[in-house]
C-alpha cells in the first residue's frame, strides 16, 4: 500500500471557502457561549463579516486560474464569478434573515417542536426571540455552495452538494408562522433531496467505472480524467451515457427543472420567506454553476450530443413553470413556478456551448438572484395579524394602500416579465442571443412563447394591486426595518442598473467565462 501524501493546498485560493466554513464553526460556539440576548446581533454580524471577508478574498483572487487540493478544487473565472455572486446574494439573504423589526422575534421559530396551536405555541408566536442557529446553518450552506461551484471532481461535488443541502433542509423547517406547513415542506425537501442525491451518486459510480477503461491510466472521477475518458476509454459508452444522465438528474433536481421540480412549489411556500429567497437565488447559482462545469469541463467531448434531450427538459421546464403559474393563487407558489420557468431559460443558456452562452448564463443567474430576493423581501412585508398574507386575493388594491411597495413589486414583476430597462430584459437577451448563434432556434422560440404566457400571471398581480379596490381583507405593508430596506434597495437598484447599463457586469462575466481543466 502506498503512503498517503497530503496534496499541497493553495490557501489564498481556498480562503473564501475556509472563511465561510470557519465562521460557521465559530457560529456554533457562539450559540454555546454567548448570552441569549446578544446572540442574534453577534451571529448576524459574524455571518455578514464572514461573507464580506470571503467576498474580499474572491475579489483579491480575481486573476487566479488554478487547480488546487489535488485537482479537487478549480479556482478559475466561472468559480470566482459565481462565488462572488453567491456571496453578494448571501448578504441580501442574511439581511432578510436578520430582520427583527417587521415581526417580533424575526421570521424563525425558537422551539420548533412545541405542539402547534397550543397555548405555549401562541406565546412563542407572539414574539419570543427566534432561533439564532439559522446563521451558522446559512453560513454552512453558503460555504457548501462555494465548494459546489468550484468542485473539480465528482466526489467533491457530491460532498459539497450535501454540505449545502442539509442546512437548507433544516432552515426550511424553521418558519415562525404556519409551522406545520414549514416542517412538512422540509421533510419533503429532505426526502426527495436524498432521493436525488442517490441518482447523482449512482451516476458518479458509473462514470468511475467508465474511466477505468482508459489505457494506462488510473480510474478517477476528477474532471480531467473524465474528460480524457470520454474520448479514450475502452469501456462501454453505455456506462458513460447512463452515468451522465444520472448526474444530470441529480443536478437538475437542485436546479428545479421539470420533471424534477415537483418539490419546488411546496418547499418555496412552506419555507420561511428569507430561506425561500435564499433557495431561489443562491441555490440556483450553485446548481447551474455545477451544471455548467460538468458539461463544459468534464463532458465537453460528448455532452453536446445530448442537447436535444436536455433541450426537451428545458422546454418542458419552461412550459410547466409558465403554464402552472397561470392558475396559482398564492404569491409564493407563483414565484416558485416562475423560478421553475427561469430554470428552463437558464438551461437554454447552458446548452449554448460558447463563451457567450457561458457568460450569458452567469449574468442571468446574478440578475435573477437580485430580482427574486427583492421580490421575496416585499412578500415578507405584506402582512396582517397572522403573518405574511400570501394569498393573491389579499393583494387586491394594495396599490391604493401602499403605493410605494406596490410600485416596487410591480417593477420587479415587470423585470421578471422581461420588460426593457430592467435586468429581466438584458439577461434574457444575454441567454437567447448565444442560443440563436448556436442554432438552437427552437429553444429560443419556446423561451419567448413561454415568456409571453408567464407575463400573464405577473400582470394579473399588477392589475390586482392597482386596479382593484382595496377591501377589508387587504393587508397593509409593514414599514420595513433597516435590514430589509437595505436588501430591497440592493435588489431593486441592481434590477434597474443591470437593465439600463448591463455592460460592466457582462464584460466581467465575459472576462471570467473560461474554465480551467
Amino acid at each position: 500500500m502506498s503512503e498517503l501524501k497530503l496534496p499541497p493546498l493553495d490557501y489564498a485560493a481556498l480562503a473564501p471557502i475556509l472563511i465561510m466554513l470557519g465562521a460557521a464553526l465559530v457560529g456554533v460556539l457562539v450559540e454555546a457561549f454567548v448570552p441569549r440576548r446578544l446572540r442574534n446581533g453577534v451571529q448576524l454580524a459574524l455571518a455578514l463579516l464572514a461573507v464580506l471577508a470571503a467576498l474580499t478574498m474572491v475579489i483579491l483572487n480575481a486573476d487566479a486560474r488554478l487547480l488546487t487540493a489535488g485537482q479537487a478544487i478549480a479556482v478559475d473565472g466561472p468559480t470566482l464569478f459565481l462565488q462572488g455572486a453567491i456571496l453578494i446574494l448571501a448578504v441580501m439573504t442574511l439581511l432578510l434573515m436578520g430582520e427583527r423589526a417587521v415581526e417580533r422575534g424575526g421570521a424563525f421559530v425558537a422551539h420548533a417542536a412545541i405542539t402547534a396551536e397550543s397555548a405555549e405555541d401562541r406565546r412563542q408566536a407572539a414574539g419570543a426571540g427566534g432561533a439564532t442557529e439559522v446563521y451558522p446553518l446559512a453560513t454552512f450552506a453558503i460555504g457548501g455552495m462555494l465548494i459546489f461551484v468550484a468542485a473539480n471532481d465528482l466526489l467533491t461535488m457530491f460532498i459539497a452538494l450535501e454540505v449545502f443541502s442539509l442546512p437548507l433542509y433544516l432552515l426550511c423547517a424553521l418558519a415562525r408562522r404556519r409551522r406545520l406547513l414549514s416542517q412538512e415542506a422540509a421533510l419533503k425537501y429532505f426526502m426527495l433531496g436524498a432521493y436525488a442525491s442517490a441518482f447523482f451518486l449512482f451516476g458518479v459510480a458509473l462514470i468511475y467505472g467508465f474511466t477505468s477503461g482508459i489505457p494506462g491510466r488510473v480510474a478517477g472521477v476528477d474532471f480531467a480524467t473524465v474528460h480524457t475518458a470520454v474520448t479514450e476509454s475502452a469501456s462501454s459508452p453505455t456506462l458513460l451515457y447512463a452515468g451522465m444522465a444520472l448526474l444530470a438528474i441529480g443536478l437538475l433536481f437542485k436546479a428545479a427543472a421539470a420533471p424534477f421540480h415537483v418539490w419546488t412549489p411546496d418547499v418555496y411556500q412552506g419555507a420561511p420567506t428569507p430561506v425561500t429567497g435564499f433557495m431561489a437565488a443562491c441555490t440556483k447559482v450553485a446548481a447551474f454553476g455545477a451544471l455548467l462545469r460538468v458539461f463544459h469541463v468534464a463532458f465537453a467531448g460528448a455532452a453536446w450530443d445530448f442537447t436535444p434531450v436536455l433541450g426537451t427538459v428545458a422546454v418542458l421546464t419552461m412550459l410547466v413553470g409558465a403554464v402552472l403559474a397561470v392558475t396559482q393563487t398564492d404569491i409564493k407558489r407563483l414565484l416558485a413556478y416562475s423560478s421553475i420557468a427561469n430554470a428552463g431559460y437558464l438551461l437554454v443558456g447552458v446548452l449554448a456551448p460558447s463563451k457567450d452562452g457561458l457568460s450569458g448564463t452567469m449574468f442571468y443567474l446574478v440578475a435573477y438572484g437580485f430580482s427574486v430576493l427583492a421580490a421575496f423581501a416585499v412578500v415578507t412585508l405584506v402582512r396582517d395579524a397572522d403573518g405574511e398574507a400570501t394569498h393573491l386575493s389579499r393583494w387586491a388594491g394594495l396599490g391604493k394602500r401602499s403605493p410605494f411597495f406596490a410600485a416596487i413589486f410591480t417593477f420587479i414583476l415587470l423585470a421578471f416579465a422581461g420588460i426593457p430597462l430592467t435586468s429581466g430584459f438584458t439577461s434574457k437577451f444575454a441567454i437567447f442571443a448565444p442560443a440563436l448563434d448556436a442554432d438552437q432556434v427552437w429553444l429560443v422560440i419556446a423561451g419567448v412563447l413561454t415568456s409571453m404566457v408567464l407575463a400573464f400571471p405577473y400582470l394579473r398581480v399588477v392589475v390586482m394591486m392597482w386596479l382593484s379596490e382595496p377591501g377589508d381583507a387587504t393587508p397593509t405593508v409593514t414599514v420595513p426595518g433597516a435590514l430589509t430596506s437595505a436588501a430591497l434597495v440592493i435588489g431593486v437598484l441592481a434590477t434597474l442598473v443591470l437593465g439600463v447599463a448591463p455592460a460592466p457586469l457582462l464584460d466581467l462575466a465575459n472576462g471570467a467565462a473560461e474554465f480551467v481543466r
Binding site: 426526502m191 453505455t238 444522465a245 415537483v262 412549489p265 450530443d305 426537451t312 392558475t327
Partner: protein, 641 residues
C-alpha cells in the same frame, strides 16, 4: 462641398455650455417634482432659471466672438452605442446656435416675466412654469446638439412641451382637442425627420453634423433629394408650413404666453433652423431648393389670405406666424446668401411677434378674455401702453420703414427676384403680394382692436391697462421691434459667416428688376394694403358674420384645408381604425382568448398532478429519470442524434 467642415474642441469657459440646457431642465424638474410645495415661489424660480441662462448665453456669445474657429464642439458622453451606430451626447456652439440661444433665452425671459402676472390667478401657475422651463431646455438642446439625434431629442422635447402647454387647460374640450391635433400632425413631420436621420445613418454611417456636412457631397442626387424631402417634412410639421399647417392656429388654445413664446417666437422656427443647419444638404440639390421655396411661397400666401378672414385676434396672429415663417422658408430655400436673410427675419419676427402676442394677451386681460376683434374697438384710449407697443409690432410686421420688418423682409423679396428665369417672377411676385396682403390684414387687426367705435359686450364698462409686470416686457419687445431690424440686418449675416456652409456664399443672379424698384414696390404695396384696410375698417365692422363671396368664405374655412384633411385622412383613417378594431376583436382577440383559455384549462388540469404527496412526487422524479436515462441511451445508440 468644396471645403471640409472642422469643429474645434470646446475649452475653458465654453466647456460649460451644457449649463444652458441643464439649468432650465433642473428648474423644470424641481417645479414638477416638488408639487404644491413649490407653489409660492415656483414661478420666480422659473424666471430666474431663464434669466440665468440668458446671462450665460450672452457670456458664451462674447467668448465665441473672440475665437478663431467659431464652431466649438463639446462631447459629453456616448449616448448610444449599438454596433456601428455611435451617437454622442454632444453640443455644438457656433454663430447660428448662438443667435438662437440669445433669442430663446432673451425673448423667453421677457415672456416668462410677463407670464408671472398673466398666470397669477391660475391655480396651475407652478405647473405652467415647469412645462415652460422644460420647453426652454428642450429648445436649447435642439439648437445646441452637434448631431441629428440630439436635434431630434430636443425636437421631440419641444413637441411634448408644446402638447402639454396647448392643452394646459385640459378641462376645456377645445384645448384638449387642439393639443391632440398638434401632437398628431407633428407626428407626421417627426416621422419624416426620423426616417431622414435613418437615411443619414444608412448612407453616411453617422449623424454627426461634421460627418454629414463633409459626406453629403459624395451622395447621389436622388439620395440627397429623398433625404432633403424627409427633413423638409419634419420642418413643415414643426413650423406649421404647408401641408402640415393646420395645427398651428388651433394651438392658440393654450395660454397666451405659450402662443407668444412657443407658437410664434421660437419653437415654430425650429423648421427654419433645421433647414439652415442642414444647408449643405439643401444646397446640394436644386430641385430640393425649388420645393422648399415652393412650400414657403404657398404657405405665405395661404397664411395671408386666411389671416385676412379671421376674427379671433390670436388666430389672425397665428396665421400671420404661418405666413411669416413662409417668408423664412422662402429665404432658406433660395439658398446662398439668403440663408442669413431668413435667420435675420426669424430673429426680427421673434421680437415683433412675441410683442404682438403679449399685446393681444394684454388686451384679453383687460377685456374679460374676449378674443373677437369685432368686439373690440377704441381701446387706444384705455390701454395706452398696449396700444403703442402693439403699434410698433404692427409697423414692424408689415415692413414699414424704418421698423425691423422692413430690414428683414425686404431683402428676402429682393432675393426671390434674384432667381433664375420664370421662377424669379413667380416667387418674387408671391413675396410681393404677400407683403401687400400682410399690410392689409394686420392693419385690419390693429384698427379694429384699437380704433374706431367701441363694439364691446355689455358687461365690460372700463377696460384696464395691464399691470407693470406685463407692460415692461411689452415695452422692451417694442423697442426690439423698432430697432432690432437695422441692427440685425447689418450685423447678423457677417456673424453667421462662420457657420458651417453659411460662409462665403456668392450672391445669386442679377435680379430681374432693379433693387430700388423692388424696394419701392414693396413699400408701395404695403402702404396700399394698410391704407385700404384703414379706409375699410376705420368705422368698425359688423359684430355678426356677414355673407361673403367665394374667396372670403374659403379663407374663413382655412381654404378648405381642414375639410381636405378630414375627407382624405380622417375619414379613411377612422374607417381603417374601425376595420382594424373589428379584426382585432373578432380575429386576434378570438385567437388570443382561445389560447389563453387553453393555457388556463391546461394549467388547471396540470395542477391536479401537484398532489402534495411525497410518494407521487418521487414517482414523477423516477419516471422523469427513467425517460432521461432512456433518452441518453437512445442518443448513444444513435437513435436520436
Amino acid at each position: 462641398m468644396e471645403e471640409t467642415v472642422r469643429f474645434a474642441e470646446a475649452s475653458g469657459f465654453l466647456g460649460s455650455v451644457w449649463l444652458l440646457v441643464a439649468i432650465p431642465l433642473v428648474s423644470a424638474a424641481i417645479l414638477l417634482l416638488l408639487g404644491r410645495r413649490a407653489d409660492r415661489w415656483g414661478h420666480w424660480l422659473g424666471v430666474a432659471a431663464i434669466g440665468a441662462a440668458f446671462v450665460l448665453g450672452l457670456s458664451y456669445f462674447f467668448q465665441l466672438r473672440g475665437l478663431e474657429n467659431k464652431q466649438v464642439e463639446l462631447s459629453l458622453w456616448q449616448f448610444i452605442t449599438a454596433g456601428d451606430l455611435k451617437v454622442d451626447f454632444g453640443l455644438l456652439f457656433d454663430p447660428l446656435a448662438a443667435v438662437f440661444v440669445l433669442l430663446i433665452t432673451g425673448v423667453g425671459f421677457l415672456i416668462h416675466l410677463y407670464a408671472v402676472e398673466y398666470m397669477a390667478h391660475d391655480e396651475g401657475r407652478r405647473r405652467f412654469f415647469g412645462y415652460f422651463n422644460l420647453f426652454v431646455a428642450a429648445m436649447l438642446l435642439l439648437v445646441l446638439g452637434n448631431n441629428y439625434v440630439m436635434l431630434y431629442f430636443g425636437w421631440e422635447g419641444v413637441g411634448l412641451a408644446s402638447y402639454l402647454l396647448i392643452s394646459f387647460w385640459y378641462g376645456r374640450p377645445s384645448a384638449a382637442t387642439a393639443g391632440k391635433k398638434a401632437f398628431l400632425m407633428n407626428r407626421v413631420g417627426d416621422a419624416g425627420l426620423a426616417i431622414g436621420i435613418f437615411v443619414l445613418f444608412a448612407q453616411l454611417g453617422s449623424t454627426q453634423y461634421e460627418d454629414v456636412f463633409n459626406g453629403v457631397g459624395a451622395l447621389s442626387q436622388t439620395t440627397v433629394l429623398v433625404l432633403g424631402l424627409l427633413l423638409l417634412l419634419g420642418a413643415t410639421g414643426k413650423s406649421g408650413q404647408f401641408p402640415l399647417q393646420a395645427w398651428l392656429p388651433d394651438a392658440m388654445e393654450g395660454p397666451t404666453p405659450v402662443s407668444a413664446l412657443i407658437h410664434a417666437a421660437t419653437m415654430v422656427t425650429a423648421g427654419v433652423y433645421l433647414i439652415a443647419r442642414s444647408n449643405p444638404v439643401f444646397s446640394a440639390n436644386t430641385t430640393l431648393q425649388l420645393v422648399v421655396v415652393g412650400v414657403g411661397a404657398v404657405t405665405l400666401l395661404m397664411g395671408c389670405l386666411i389671416g385676412a378672414a379671421k376674427d379671433d385676434i390670436k388666430r389672425v396672429l397665428a396665421w400671420s406666424t404661418v405666413s411669416q415663417i413662409g417668408y423664412m422658408f422662402l429665404g432658406v430655400g433660395l439658398g446662398g446668401a439668403a440663408y442669413a436673410l431668413a435667420i435675420v427675419h426669424l430673429l426680427a419676427h421673434g421680437f415683433f411677434k412675441a410683442n404682438m402676442f403679449l399685446g393681444a394677451g394684454s388686451v384679453m386681460h383687460g377685456m374679460n378674455d374676449q378674443v373677437d376683434i369685432r368686439r373690440f374697438g377704441g381701446l387706444s384710449k384705455y390701454m395706452k401702453v398696449t396700444w403703442l407697443t402693439f403699434m410698433m409690432g404692427w409697423l414692424a410686421i408689415i415692413g414699414m420703414f424704418p421698423f425691423s420688418g422692413f430690414f428683414s423682409k425686404e431683402p428676402i423679396i429682393v432675393a426671390a427676384f434674384e432667381r433664375e428665369g420664370w421662377t424669379a417672377w413667380l416667387f418674387g411676385m408671391a413675396a410681393l403680394i404677400g407683403a401687400g396682403l400682410t399690410a392689409f390684414y394686420m392693419t385690419r387687426l390693429f384698427v379694429l382692436t384699437f380704433h374706431g367705435p367701441k363694439r364691446w359686450t355689455e358687461e365690460i364698462e372700463h377696460p384696464h391697462e395691464s399691470p407693470k409686470l406685463m407692460t415692461i416686457p411689452l415695452i422692451l419687445l417694442a423697442i426690439g421691434s423698432v430697432g432690432a431690424g437695422f441692427l440685425l440686418a447689418t450685423s447678423v449675416p457677417d456673424w453667421l459667416e462662420a457657420t458651417a456652409g453659411l460662409g462665403g456664399q456668392e450672391k445669386g443672379h442679377e435680379a430681374v428688376l432693379a433693387h430700388w424698384l423692388i424696394t419701392t414696390l414693396s413699400l408701395a404695396v404695403t402702404v396700399l394694403g394698410a391704407g385700404l384696410a384703414w379706409f375699410l375698417f376705420r368705422n368698425g365692422t359688423a359684430t355678426e358674420p356677414q355673407p361673403a363671396g367665394v374667396l372670403v368664405t374659403a379663407a374663413r374655412r382655412n381654404l378648405y384645408t381642414d375639410a381636405f384633411n378630414e375627407a382624405v385622412f380622417e375619414k379613411p383613417g377612422i374607417f381603417l381604425t374601425r376595420a382594424l378594431v373589428f379584426l382585432d376583436n373578432r380575429g386576434v382577440d378570438g385567437l388570443v382568448n382561445g389560447l389563453a383559455a387553453a393555457v388556463g384549462g391546461g394549467s388547471g388540469r396540470l395542477r391536479r398532478l401537484q398532489t402534495g404527496f411525497v410518494r407521487s412526487y418521487a414517482t414523477s422524479i423516477l419516471t422523469g429519470a427513467l425517460l432521461v436515462v432512456a433518452a441518453f441511451l437512445a442518443v448513444q445508440a444513435g437513435w436520436l442524434a
